[in-house]
Subunit: 215 residues, 2 copies
């Protein structure tokens, strides 16, 4: 229950709690967290209860224990390894993105069809020809694939990933992927996100125009 929505909020709590800890706090209450993160305190307690039972009435949550519990629950301790396919601008931005380490994600190698990057390193990670993907993925038992190729190539590359035994595809393209049962696809859709942003913005501006018109 509330599983997926809660799951998405946990990293936000974790980042926030680490800041509080750095500021020298030893405990924190759900009320305080809710206030700072603009959430409902009951929701905070329910979310945290998924990962930790360290909360104590009257005192709140001990910060150290809570952080440990969250990290363990999110699987940050046992690093997940991934291959990235598509070493274009976005792919490179992700290869160099140093906050992935904090999330427990480690990109081991990149793949691309462009011969001018093959054999070189980006952010200290080797770039291989795309053909090598299925074989290498299988031999290294890779489970996560990050997809940053042009939209037209997305489906084809996704199939190579699946052929290599990859089970979870983090899709940064705007392509709609068709994959077999038992494969997880996580879409990072800029189009969807921007549609929501412009929708919220135009609702806001429309409201204001209206209110301005009726004094």
């Amino acid at each position: 229950m509330a599983m997926n929505a809660s799951m998405a909020r946990l990293p936000k709590y974790l980042a926030y709690l680490k800041i509080r800890q750095k500021q020298g706090e030893a405990t924190i209450s759900s009320t305080k967290i809710a206030e700072d993160l603009h959430l409902n305190p009951v929701q905070v307690r329910k979310d945290l209860a998924m990962a930790s039972h360290a909360g104590r009435p009257k005192t709140g949550y001990p910060l150290g224990t809570l952080i440990d519990d969250l990290e363990r629950f999110l699987g940050f301790s046992n690093v997940s390894e991934a291959f990235l396919v598509g070493a274009g601008r976005l792919g490179r931005a992700l290869l160099y993105y140093d906050q992935f380490a904090e999330l427990g994600l480690s990109i081991l190698a990149a793949f691309d069809t462009d011969p001018t990057v093959q054999g070189f390193e980006l952010a200290g990670k080797p770039v291989f020809p795309l053909e090598k993907l299925p074989d290498l993925a299988r031999r290294m038992q890779m489970r996560i694939g990050i997809l940053t190729v042009p939209t037209v190539a997305a489906q084809e590359v996704a199939e190579l990933m699946v052929a290599g035994g990859i089970r979870a595809i983090w899709n940064f393209t705007s392509a709609h992927l068709t994959v077999p049962e038992g494969i997880v696809v996580q879409n990072e859709s800029m189009a969807a996100s921007f549609a929501m942003l412009s929708n919220k913005l135009s609702a806001l501006l429309r409201n204001e125009a209206q209110e301005g018109g009726t004094p």
Copy 2:
């Protein structure tokens, strides 16, 4: 009702419909769309009804009209202009991202504190010193700001955006932003997205291990 969730799906329909049109189709049914996009046909009809009333019993939707209606509804026709702050790797990837044009988003300029990029152009767009942001945003009546700075600078820059009259912040950092009433924040949280991906993946692997154990 179903407003936000539907809104996020519309760009996906639009991309799909354009492909069907290119393939020479003239009409399409909600059943077919649902099948190809792995959705419920009733949901497809309800989503499309937000933007268009071109559907006809027996024949389905005329592709041309439906695409036009969706584009108009999503506001793709009247381009939204934006400023981008933080011309690092991610910022540059977005500056060069050519699919934004299709979404109706046009980034007019970038801002950065690094003097070595100031005065130059990236993807044909000028890079200004950060100090110029509030004044330029106000004079150009900019409404959308794209935030791709390091996490520690995020709050500070968000405040500059607000000071410049920007009303919608597309936040690509992992910072939790505190903004006044009447400002829209759209978070593009990698951490949240990755947490959901690894959660789904480990549920999947756990399930399989279990099923494998009980033959």
